[in-house]
């Protein structure tokens, strides 16, 4: 579904990714874990063309998207739920969801909206409230719901647990699991919260300084002693 081959990328003259290879198969949840500044977010943003890959190829479905503009990539069915949630602060919850569905078939809108509000009852309560007035957890739910309103084939999720209370983090991960099963959407997940991410993911990659240094199934990496030491038990990445 998504395939990155030797992707290099960065900001200005700084290179942040040194040849990334990874793929996401239909229905799969793939996690990228690693410390701050390892290039996880840059990987997701490069998939969306901002910044653009300096070398390598990115394919999505049958299309080569390496050089497409960001909005064109999104319209192919690739939804990105970025780090920091980026809810539109002065638009209502409903308008945020409408923005998510901007390029979906309008015939689906009411059904999809109802489904999202069923799944996130808090959003129904706040439907006409401005996005900026929601709590962090609510904003994260809204950001995920907004991304799903486009009926994507692939969802890029960047740090969905960032800055949220532990209880809510658990809810969010449970939700991601449900979304992947119910909406039949593939997920590429970036997380610093490696424990939750590895438990959830089918496969995962560990990034260090712009390179993938270890790959395996979630369970394998979770059992790996080095990974545990670095990213789970008080290591740099936790």
């Amino acid at each position: 579904m998504l395939r990155l081959e030797g992707v290099e990328s960065g900001y200005g003259r700084t290179t942040a990714l040194f040849g990334i290879d990874l793929h996401v198969a239909p229905g799969e949840i793939v996690a990228l874990i690693g410390a701050n500044g390892a290039g996880k977010t840059t990987s997701l943003m490069t998939v969306c063309g901002n910044p653009r890959a300096k070398a390598g190829r990115i394919r999505f479905g049958g299309d080569d998207i390496t050089n497409l503009p960001t909005h064109a990539i999104a319209r192919l069915g690739l939804a990105h739920c970025p780090e920091g949630r980026h809810v539109f602060p002065r638009m209502s919850v409903l308008e945020n969801l409408q923005m998510g569905a901007a390029f979906a078939d309008p015939a689906h809108f009411h059904g999809d909206l109802e489904r999202m509000l069923e799944r996130f009852p808090r959003l129904r309560e706040r439907l006409h409230q401005r996005g900026g007035t929601l709590s962090g957890g609510e904003q994260q739910m809204l950001a995920i719901a907004r991304a799903l309103m486009s009926r994507p084939r692939l969802l890029l999720l960047d740090e969905p647990s960032l800055g949220l209370a532990p209880m809510i983090v658990r809810d969010i991960f449970a939700l991601i699991e449900r979304v992947s099963a119910e909406d039949k959407v593939s997920i590429l997940l970036v997380e610093q919260n490696a424990y939750h991410a590895l438990k959830l993911a089918h496969r995962a990659h560990v990034m260090v300084q712009g390179r993938i240094v270890a790959s395996g199934t979630g369970a394998e990496l979770l059992a790996d002693r080095d990974i545990r030491a670095h990213y789970l038990e008080g290591g740099a990445g936790v």
Partner: protein, 304 residues
């Protein structure tokens, strides 16, 4: 009292015109954070387009018919919309990621280019237009003083109201308006949702320019004289209106325009007409000193 009422009528008419121009400033500022100092020139181009359209209609013998007015309106809006699109394309798009000073200087350059272009092609002399819309009625009479409301003033007010209402509807209720607000609030995220940000920005310029074009047409009809330099003062006043209302705020631009028009008309009515610009611009200074976010604007700092 009668005198006051007459000045209010004049002020509201003028204020509507300023408001229409101010919308363009405030929208462009909202969406790309720059002051489009060439916007006043678009208004001037609208005035010239309208003048040419009316003169052509006069030659054909239909300038004062409703059809003649409608054709002039459509021609003016279409032509200024095209200019708005071209200005953004030529002078601003490539500077989207440049430091903020660069597009500002580019805007001033564009403004000078357009002024001189019109001066060279149309001549520097003041251009008169004989009255196209005649008549009106007297609201009240006190002794020898009459309070008049002309058909032209009514037309300007109704058209302004209709445009502002229609435009507010577009911004608050349609997918295009949502895309504009989304781009304004978080352009990067809008792109991730499939919004073509460049196109939204172009549309913003086109709409703002068309509204300024209408203002130009109204001024041509209202005052009957125009020259290549009118865009400067009107542009700065509409900018003042946008700042007064709170730059970036759409209702603010309309309110600010109305207030600037009223201030100007009342000042000319009761104090001195020579100092009316000083009154309007003193407002700009006072607002910037005491309420920089304007009447309806929001403070710059936003809780995340």
């Amino acid at each position: 009292m009668e005198y006051f009422l007459q000045q209010v009528i004049n002020g509201v008419t003028l204020g509507g015109i300023y408001g229409l121009i101010a919308i363009g400033y405030t929208m462009v500022y909202g969406i790309i954070g720059m002051i489009n100092f060439a916007h006043g020139e678009v208004y001037m181009l609208g005035a010239f387009t309208a003048l040419i359209a009316f003169l052509a209609a006069t030659l054909l013998g239909g300038a004062d018919s409703a059809l003649g007015l409608a054709i002039a309106l459509v021609a003016t809006m279409g032509f200024t919309a095209l200019w708005g699109w071209a200005i953004e394309r030529v002078a601003y798009r490539r500077l989207r990621k440049a430091p903020r000073l660069a597009p500002l200087i580019s805007a001033i350059g564009m403004s000078v280019v357009l002024q001189n272009f019109v001066q060279v092609t149309q001549g520097a002399r003041v251009k008169p237009l004989p009255p196209v819309v005649h008549g009106g009625f007297t609201l009240m009479q006190a002794g020898t003083f009459k309070v008049d409301l002309s058909w032209l003033q009514i037309g300007i007010l109704l058209l302004t109201l209709a445009l502002m209402a229609g435009f507010t509807w577009v911004i608050t209720k349609t997918p295009l308006g949502r895309a504009q607000r989304a781009t304004q609030q978080d352009a990067k995220m809008a792109a991730l949702l499939g919004i073509d940000v460049d196109r939204v920005i172009s549309t913003t310029f086109v709409i703002g320019a068309a509204l300024a074009g209408v203002a130009g047409l109204m001024v041509t009809l209202y005052y009957g004289v125009i020259d290549f330099y009118i865009g400067f003062l009107a542009g700065i006043k509409a900018f003042t209106a946008a700042v007064l209302g709170g730059i970036g705020s759409l209702p603010g631009a309309m309110l600010g325009g109305l207030l600037i028009g009223l201030i100007e008309a009342l000042w000319s009515g009761y104090f001195s007409i020579e100092y009316k610009d000083i009154a309007a611009f003193s407002v700009l200074i006072l607002v910037l000193l005491f309420r920089p976010s304007g009447l309806l604007g929001r403070p710059d700092v936003e809780k995340v």
